[in-house]
Structures are given as C-alpha cells and as structure tokens.
C-alpha cells in the first residue's frame, strides 16, 4: 500500500515537472550521461572494464541508466568503475550520477545527494553448502561466521540484527564475498536480497539455502555528488520511469527470484 501511494504521488510529480529536454542539463561530458558503477553485482551490473573505463555492461542498473539518459535527452551513456564506498563519498567525482543499489541512509546523505527511491529492498541471508542443519531463526544464525560487503548496509544488518558471537567478516567486493561463501569460509552472507536471490537462482548448486530476509525496508536511490546541479532533472526523469512502469519492467527482466516467498527472519 505504501508503495502504491508512493508511485501515485510520483506520477503527479512527473506530470508537474515536465521532461527537461527544453532546458538541457550540463553533464561532465556534453550530450553524455556518465554513470558511476561498482561491477559486479548479479542481475544489477556485470561487465568488462579497462581500468575504470567500463567497455561493456549489462543488468538492471545499466538499463536504468540508459532510460534516464533517454529521459534527459542525452545521446550517450558511459560507465565508470569504482569501489562501492566511493560512489557516495564526499568530493568531486568523474561521473554525473552513481547507480549501484545504493541504499539511501542519513549517513550517506551527509556526503552525497540522492534522488527519490526507486526500489525498496530487504537484506537477505544466504547460507553456505557446508552449514548443516541450516538455522531458520536470527538466534540460530548468531553462532555462524557471517560475512558482508564492505561499507554495505548488510554489515549493519549482520551486526545489529543478528549480532553474531564471532565478528562479522568484512569483504571488499562481491566476487570475493561469494567465493568465500562457496568455500565455506563464510558460513552465511548478509547482502541485498534481490542480488542473493538472483545469484542463487542462477547457480543453485554452489550455495546452501536462502535462509530468509531481514526486513530492513531500505530504499535504493541514485547518488549524485553533494550539491550537483543534475539532481533535479535526474530525479524528475526517475519519477517518470517509476510512474510509467519502466522500473517494474526492468526488475522483471533482470531480477529472477520471487522474494515474496522467502521467510522473514525473526
């Protein structure tokens, strides 16, 4: 219900703020939207990068960036590879916007500006194959060696909601995180539920069961450097894409699992 109301209000917003084609925005490279990403994240953004120059990319975030550029009347889209934490840290950035499943938090608002949210997600808990029996409760997860992605909201969920007896192992990138889960060095990973769901659906044999979700209700937004002039136009473009069903279509296209069926961990 809350979501429906949000979408309805966004639709109104989209009507009241027409597309900004009449008033072209100033981007780092003229007629191009430059997008900060942090490859890879299953379903959202995977690809190829030479240094920080992304030469090929695909996924939900990539399609979203292209749709935004279209709304803004920009012909080209370029992607720049970055460590995740840098996408919303302070300072000037070599991109106009950052799209990488960035949850809007008060702390991150201090160093970056955000659009309205475009997706509401929870944290997921995926177990390693070696964990038997698989715990089904938060209390049962406490004794496991948990891992999470550096500077992600998964770290917070692991530490505060599960509060494991062993320190949460912080890992710098998603591939290493998942490799550690495959080998059992991490007994469970706490990470964005849609990503874990997509990963598990594609290679079910490499991981244990998707234990469940921790209801965080966090919201992804597009981050821009603090004080960026493109925010208003990008926010309006995003509003249009939410209202016209584009976001929903892209979710169906790239994110394969039905998260509603997963149990909520208590």
């Amino acid at each position: 219900m809350r979501r429906l109301a949000t979408i309805a209000s966004l639709a109104l917003l989209a009507l009241s703020v027409p597309a900004s084609a009449a008033d072209p925005i100033t981007t780092i490279t003229p007629d191009q939207l430059t997008v900060g990403v942090s490859l890879p994240s299953d379903g959202f953004e995977v690809g190829v990068a030479k240094g920080d120059q992304v030469t090929y990319a695909q996924g939900f975030d990539i399609d979203l960036a292209r749709e935004i550029a279209k709304q803004l009347g920009l012909t080209h889209v370029a992607f720049v590879q970055s460590p995740f934490g840098r996408l919303f840290s302070s300072g000037t950035k070599p991109w106009d916007v950052a799209i990488a499943q960035i949850t809007i938090t008060d702390q991150r608002r201090r160093t970056a500006d955000f659009t309205q949210p475009y997706m509401t997600v929870d944290q997921g808990v995926l177990a390693a194959q070696t964990v038997k029996p698989v715990p089904r409760t938060l209390a049962g997860l406490r004794s496991l060696r948990l891992c999470a992605l550096s500077k992600s909201t998964g770290v917070d969920a692991a530490k505060t909601v599960i509060a494991p007896t062993k320190p949460v192992r912080i890992i710098g990138n998603v591939p290493t995180l998942m490799l550690n889960l495959q080998t059992g060095r991490c007994q469970a990973v706490v990470y964005d539920a849609p990503s874990l769901g997509t990963l598990k659906a594609r290679t079910p044999d490499r991981y244990g069961p998707f234990v469940g979700v921790i209801k965080t209700g966090e919201q992804y937004g597009i981050a821009v450097p603090k004080g960026s002039q493109v925010l208003t136009a990008v926010d309006a473009a995003l509003g249009t894409l939410i209202a016209d069903g584009t976001i929903q279509r892209l979710q169906k296209k790239w994110l394969t699992t039905n998260l509603a069926k997963l149990p909520t961990l208590r």
Binding site: V48, Y56, P175, T203, D205, R206
Partner: protein, 385 residues
C-alpha cells in the same frame, strides 16, 4: 582419423584409453603429476617420448558427456591452442559426442604468458550468455587448454583488453584462474530425492512379483509396499512397453503387465555381463549370459547433446566423479565412452535430457555400479523395436 583422447578421472589410479583406437596424449604427463599419479606417469615415460620433444601438437579440451576430454591439434604455443579451441571440434569429433561451449562468434585477440600467468584476450562473445553452465564450461575449456603451455600456471581472461566482472556466475574472473581451482570440488554431492510415494494400489504384491519375475524389480523389493523401487520398476516397464511414463501402477499398466513377457536382449553378445542402452525406449538393459537381469529407466543425451550410438567398454568405476566443467558431482559413475558414463543424478526425467551421459535414479545407480565390471561391453542402440 586417429585422435588422442584423454579424459580426466580424478580418483582413478591410471589414465584410461577409452577405446583401442585412441591413445593417451603424452602431454598428459603434466596432468598426471599434478594429480599424484607419478608412478603411472613414470611408467608411461619409459615407453613414450618425453613431452618436450613432441612440441608439434597441443591439447585442446572439449566436452563429452559431463567431462572435459582432450584432442590433439597441430601447434606448440598457447595461442595455437586457444585458436584451435575457438575453432571447435571437427565433424568426426562431433559425431563422437564431443562439443564445445565456446560461442562460434568468439575470436582471439591475443595470448601472452608472463610469469606463469596467461593473459587470454578474446572478443565479447566469449563472455555473453544467460546459461550459467555453458559459461562455466567454456571457461573450464579455456583454462584447461592454456594451462601448462609456455609455463602458464593460471589464466586471466580479458575481453578486448578489459577485466571481466561477474559475467561468469559464481567464478571470480577479475583475477587469474587456476586449473586446480576448477578441479577442486567445492560443493557437496547432492543426493536426489526418491520419487514421492503414491496411494495404495490394489494387488500390489502380485504386480511386484510379476515385475520381479520379468526383470524390472529386484525380487527382494517385492515387499507389498509402494516405495521408490516399485515406482522405478513401473517406470522401466512403462518405457519398455511404450506406455505413458508416469511410474504409477494404473489400469493400463496393470493390463499390460498381466500379459507381458520377460524382455530379451536386443542383440546377442558374449556370455558374462554386458549392457545395452536403448535410446528410443530410454532404458538400459543389464544383461548376464544373454539374459536380461534388470531393466533400468534412464535419461540419455538431450537432442542437442545426444548419446552417440556404438560399441564401447566400461573402462572405470568411480563412486564419486567431479565434473570440472559443470562443477557438480556425478555419483556411481561407470564411464564407457570417454566422458560419457552411467551415473546417478538428481534429475532423471522420463525423456532424453542429459549432456550425453546415461542418467539413473538413486534407486538403480548403486546397483548398476555394482553390476558393472571394468571391460564390460556397453552397446548404445538407436532403435530397439
């Protein structure tokens, strides 16, 4: 045309030549040593020229069944080997059930080996696709083909000079990959669930005794209980008779059972144990002294990856066989044609669905493994009617 065909069999004490016409590649010495088959390797070294003196061929790895198999190609460098890999198997090799998961559109940009790391730069097509198994298999083919050449110990995949992030699900490609990593099992064996039991069946014991008398059920399993063994036997009977394949002892199946004769081998053969795989009926016949001992429901190669018909011999028995290309366990494996084997699998649909192997259910796989002996003839037949 002779092709040196080598299949990797971790856990088997010596390298196997799957058929008399196929020879073991000398360069396999490196592999043997890596897998601690040193004694065997040295024995071969005594009768075969050293690998270094035979620099005119390279090994290129394709798939057959669930396993990687190698063929020789002219060349000596890592670049030669990758070029040959991208070219794919010959028509003759394809007819033997060999296939590649490297897309035909993929092209080689360059291969350079520096400090034991082979940087293999290919075009984007190599990394594209939605099927995780296909992506993993082609990566395993590439890593195996390049490893060992020009001192390469690991392979860093590049796409048009760029690092690859997340395009191969579950495998980290942003750093060099070793063959050892791909060959090291990191998932537990998944045990297939037995078929779910159905309701009570009138005259079950009598039907079981009939199934047992005809060779579909082991006599000990004629116990009056409608369990997994009975369902497997019913499925085998339905497949043999050409009935609907649902594993349920319904009126149609009961009627057919009442007048059924014991199946006979399709071909006459030597006395002793042998097997026939009947592709049209999707059953295997375990045969002893030209009498069918047991009819086993199987799922052979899917239309895109068919099980090649022909005469073969069981060359090994491997209780747990790791599939390097697909990163999964094959249980109770009885290989008879390089990478093609009888084995247990979690999914055994009543139609051809495998990568070329002969899949069996949990209810029969161990029995077939015990029945099989190394050297046992296996005949794969397209038609049995």
């Amino acid at each position: 045309m002779r092709s040196a065909l080598l299949v990797m069999i971790p856990g088997v004490p010596e390298p196997i030549s799957p058929a008399a016409t196929k020879t073991i590649g000398v360069r396999s010495l490196r592999r043997l040593a890596a897998l601690a088959w040193l004694a065997t390797a040295m024995a071969i070294a005594l009768v075969a020229p050293a690998g270094s003196s035979e620099a005119t061929t390279v090994k290129v790895w394709f798939l057959q069944g669930e396993q990687l198999v190698s063929v020789d190609r002219p060349g000596s460098t890592a670049s030669d080997a990758v070029a040959a890999l991208l070219a794919g198997p010959t028509a003759t090799e394809k007819a033997q059930g060999m296939r590649t998961y490297v897309p035909a559109a993929a092209k080689l940009n360059s291969v350079t080996v520096v400090n034991g790391v082979a940087r293999v730069d290919v075009t984007l097509s190599f990394a594209l696709g939605r099927d995780a198994q296909s992506l993993d298999a082609r990566l395993a083919q590439l890593v195996h083909t390049v490893s060992g050449l020009e001192g390469a110990k690991s392979v860093l995949l590049l796409v048009n000079g760029g690092t690859v992030y997340g395009m191969f699900p579950g495998i980290v490609t942003s750093r060099p990959i070793t063959l050892k990593y791909l060959e090291t099992p990191n998932v537990p064996a998944s045990h297939p669930a037995p078929p779910s039991p159905t309701g009570p069946v009138a005259g079950l014991l009598e039907s079981q005794q009939k199934l047992a008398a005809l060779g579909f059920l082991l006599p000990a399993d004629a116990d009056g209980k409608n369990g997994p063994q009975t369902q497997t036997a019913v499925l085998a009977f339905q497949k043999w008779q050409g009935l609907d394949r649902d594993g349920v002892l319904g009126p149609q199946t009961q009627a057919a059972l009442a007048k059924a004769q014991r199946p006979a081998p399709i071909t006459q053969g030597p006395s002793g144990r042998r097997a026939e795989v009947l592709l049209d009926r999707q059953v295997a016949l375990a045969i002893e002294n030209n009498k069918v001992v047991r009819v086993i429901p199987v799922s052979t190669g899917a239309p895109s990856t068919p099980t090649p018909p022909g005469d073969y011999k069981v060359y090994a028995k491997i209780a747990k066989w790791w599939s390097t290309p697909f990163r999964e366990w094959l249980l109770w494996a009885v290989p008879f044609n390089a990478g093609i084997a009888f084995h247990e699998f979690s999914e055994v649909p009543p139609y051809p669905a495998s990568h070329g192997c002969v899949r069996q259910m949990q209810t029969t796989a161990k029995w077939m493994y015990d029945f099989s002996v190394v050297g046992m003839p296996v005949k794969v037949l397209t038609t049995s009617q």
